[in-house]
């Protein structure tokens, strides 16, 4: 499974959706989740860069897992997601800072069809508040944006989470370009 995580990690970096060692990827494994380690780079994933954590309680592996493990865990417990991708994609972050609403309404047709509205949520990095807000948002949406931080996208498989991540960034890019060109 780490090879799938590696494959999509490389794509995310390649297309500018993730940078440096920011962002994280996980896959649900029954009563557990396989998640990238804290400090790992998404385009350099190997079997030592992912860690298996328990879904229902913290254990020692939380110490070396992504700082957002608490968020992934809460989303899996509260939604039907089986894969989650979190990145700091630039247009989504920028637009979340420019938009004061609770939702972002895409302007392009495809995003309107598939994403409908994109929730904008708040909460500190790796905090219980963020976990709760995102789990609530992703119980009804494919993806959400954390204000000033980045996107969380869910799917049944990693590819679906990847598609949703790309869709949100595309929707935000179009929205941003429309906004800028209006001036």
């Amino acid at each position: 499974m780490w090879r799938e995580i590696d494959r999509f990690g490389r794509k995310l970096v390649q297309y500018g959706l993730a940078h440096s060692h920011f962002g994280n990827i996980s896959v649900r494994t029954g009563d557990g989740l396989l998640i990238t380690r804290s400090g790992s780079m998404l385009d350099e994933i190997d079997e030592n860069m992912v860690v298996h954590c328990h879904l229902y309680k913290e254990d020692c592996f939380d110490t070396i897992a992504s700082s957002e493990t608490i968020v992934h865990r809460r989303i899996y417990r509260q939604t039907s997601a089986l894969a989650i991708i979190h990145v700091h994609s630039p247009y989504a972050v920028a637009l979340s800072l420019l938009n004061g609403e609770d939702y972002l309404v895409p302007r392009d047709t495809e995003s309107k069809y598939f994403l409908h509205r994109i929730p904008l949520v708040t909460g500190g990095v790796g905090s219980a508040e963020l976990a709760e807000n995102l789990a609530e948002a992703l119980s009804q949406h494919k993806a959400a944006i954390v204000r000033g931080h980045g996107t969380f996208a869910a799917g049944k498989i990693l590819e679906e989470a990847y598609v949703n991540t790309c869709s949100v960034e595309h929707a935000c890019k179009v929205h941003y370009l429309c906004t800028v060109s209006a001036f």
């Binding site: 804290s38 020692c60 110490t63 070396i64 990095v125």
Partner: protein, 604 residues
């Protein structure tokens, strides 16, 4: 009993000597004559060595002649706070203790958390330095500017628990509001000169390693009581508050500090280190303990009602009690557990309680028991271990041989290869074969086999600040000095190492500047650490240590352990050691060059 009152805080002193963060003064106590004096510290010494470990090392270098017996009256014992101690800097409620070690013969510093260091700062002092030996047992009483030596006959012969209780009974009525008395003391092991006797501060905060408690006992100094109501002056409160928030935010964002350590304490490491094949088992003859889960952080969480404890100003709160017993730290679990082939959590907790009461370093105790078991060729059972520890604490019977530490014991028994130590300090809970930066760190540590000098667990285990490949020595020789310098500075501020799972030298330099009003860059902080490291190296050279002491027990170069076939490659290790000397600016013999010392403004 001579009682000496020291001078009042004169007005001119505040006008002409005012500093932020530091008070610029310390107490010098001659236990032989009973004379107590207040010594003003030059500002440049504080700015160059900060406080804590750095200040202690500087004073020890200046005060101590070469070659003295560490348990003789000539040794000097220094308790020092740092410029951040007593402020609300996260996890900065620590103090350092520095002396020549009776266990290693090296310069030695340890530090402890709790509230004692903060009380020292609130009393208006940066340090206390003890010289000589009292004719009969005494304790030092510091009530702000009133300082006296008091008769300690009623405490002598008592272990730490009873000593703390007697002191608490005597002084708790005088503690009011923010003015609280805090205690540091030794147990019977310190009185009896056990080479790895510790110093207990408050209850459960131990300055554990190197036998500093024995130095205290050799001076007939049973305890130090400090209390004060001063506020540590901060140069810019608003800027300080901002930098403090920055650090707190980083600690929340780090899973190590906000999840693992906060939820489980250091026992979270047991299963993790075992999973990584690093857990010292059967006196470092294996790196995997099949029953590790029985003594793990998860087991403790599921079976005990943990009551968390925090040191002054610490948001992590990694310590905990279960009823009347302290939850053991990871190192204690590792060395009294797997290293001794012991999977009984209850017995480890019982032994830990006994060690703390006697005032014994649990790492060296566990490692020495593991060494003893290997020499005997059998596992030690719970009752045997408890009885041996009592004998060690009393320095009598079979315990008398163990009371000198594992190197002393193994040499006496004609099996030096059974002692898992560097420079006679026993190795902690990480097998060096599986973390090669740590291995080089053990070998080059100025106080012997210690994980805290370079704290390579950060990058090699936790991925902080960046995950390094723990199975290679490549590039480690260049990185290691940076980490060693950084943690020498941290120990001088004095800030807990766990802060570095979130914050780095930039944040710490910034908050130091806001407290002291003196501008420090991150590079300045590292340079101070480098100065301290080099001075420690000079001290050890003066005591006869050389490059030949920068090595590891033979076991790690020869024996395979699960996944580490053939042990550490000796040639590669020696190459990395030579590179390390080069990066340090030292000669090929590991001696700091004249140019390096001049660059660091160290006068020899």
């Amino acid at each position: 009993m001579a009682i000496v009152l020291v001078g009042v805080n004169l007005l001119f002193e505040r006008v002409f000597y005012f500093m932020f963060g530091w008070w610029g003064k310390g107490l010098e106590v001659d236990l032989g004559s009973g004379e107590i004096t207040v010594k003003q510290l030059p500002r440049e010494i504080l700015e160059m060595y900060l406080g804590g470990r750095g200040l202690g090392v500087k004073l020890l270098w200046d005060y101590l002649p070469a070659g003295i017996d560490p348990l003789s009256p000539q040794n000097v014992l220094i308790f020092a706070a740092g410029p951040l101690t007593g402020t609300r800097t996260p996890a900065a409620g620590r103090h350092a203790v520095v002396a020549k070690s009776p266990l290693t013969g090296t310069i030695f510093d340890g530090n402890a958390g709790g509230y004692w260091g903060t009380a020292l700062k609130k009393a208006g002092y940066d340090y206390i330095c003890f010289k000589g030996r009292a004719a009969s047992p005494v304790f030092l009483m510091v009530r702000g500017e009133r300082v006296s030596l008091e008769n300690a006959d009623f405490l002598w012969g008592k272990n730490t628990g009873q000593t703390m209780k007697l002191l608490g009974d005597r002084f708790s009525a005088e503690s009011k509001g923010t003015f609280k008395y805090r205690f540091s003391c030794i147990g019977r092991a310190g009185e009896k000169g056990v080479a790895f006797a510790s110093i207990m501060s408050d209850s459960g905060n131990v300055c554990g390693r190197g036998g500093l408690g024995a130095v205290m006992g050799s001076k007939n100094l049973k305890a130090i009581v400090v209390g004060g109501g001063k506020r540590v002056p901060i140069a810019d409160d608003d800027v300080f508050a901002r930098y403090r928030r920055d650090i707190l935010r980083l600690l929340v964002a780090s899973p190590v500090s906000s999840k693992g350590l906060s939820s489980f304490g250091t026992p979270v490491l047991v299963n993790l280190i075992n999973y990584m094949r690093l857990l010292p088992t059967n006196n470092f003859r294996s790196v995997y303990f099949p029953e590790a889960d029985e003594i793990s952080g998860e087991k403790i969480r599921d079976n005990f009602e943990r009551k968390k404890k925090a040191c002054y100003g610490c948001p992590i709160a990694c310590k905990a009690r279960a009823g009347e017993m302290e939850i053991p730290e990871y190192e204690t679990l590792a060395l009294l557990g797997p290293a001794c082939n012991n999977s009984s959590l209850e017995s480890i907790m019982e032994i830990n309680t006994l060690c703390n009461d006697y005032g014994l370093d649990t790492i060296t105790t566990g490692a020495t028991l593991a060494c003893y078991a290997e020499i005997l060729g059998k596992n030690l059972q719970r009752e045997e271990m408890l009885e041996l520890i009592r004998q060690v604490g009393e320095n009598e019977g079979a315990g008398a041989q163990l009371a000198g530490g594992s190197a002393f014991l193994a040499a006496k028994r004609g099996k030096p290869e059974a002692a898992m130590q560097v420079k006679k300090l026993e190795l902690p809970g990480y097998d060096p074969r599986g973390a090669l930066g740590m291995a080089l760190g053990y070998a080059t540590s100025n106080r012997g086999g210690c994980h805290l000098r370079a704290y390579m667990i950060g990058p090699e285990i936790f991925g902080k600040p960046k995950l390094l490949n723990r199975l290679t020595l490549a590039d480690k020789a260049g990185l290691l000095p940076v980490f060693q310098n950084f943690f020498a500075a941290m120990d001088s501020l004095v800030v807990c190492k766990f802060v570095t799972f979130g914050a780095g030298e930039e944040e710490l330099a910034a908050i130091l500047g806001s407290v002291t009003g003196v501008y420090y860059s991150a590079q300045d902080l590292l340079r101070i650490g480098e100065r301290i490291w080099n001075l420690e190296r000079l001290f050890n050279q003066r005591e006869g240590f050389s490059a030949g002491d920068d090595t590891l027990p033979e076991r790690f170069f020869q024996d395979s352990a699960d996944g580490y076939a053939g042990g550490i490659d000796r040639d590669e290790f020696l190459r990395a050691l030579r590179e390390y000397y080069f990066y340090r600016g030292w000669t090929e013999e590991g001696i700091p060059s004249a140019e390096k010392l001049a660059q660091l403004e160290i006068e020899v």
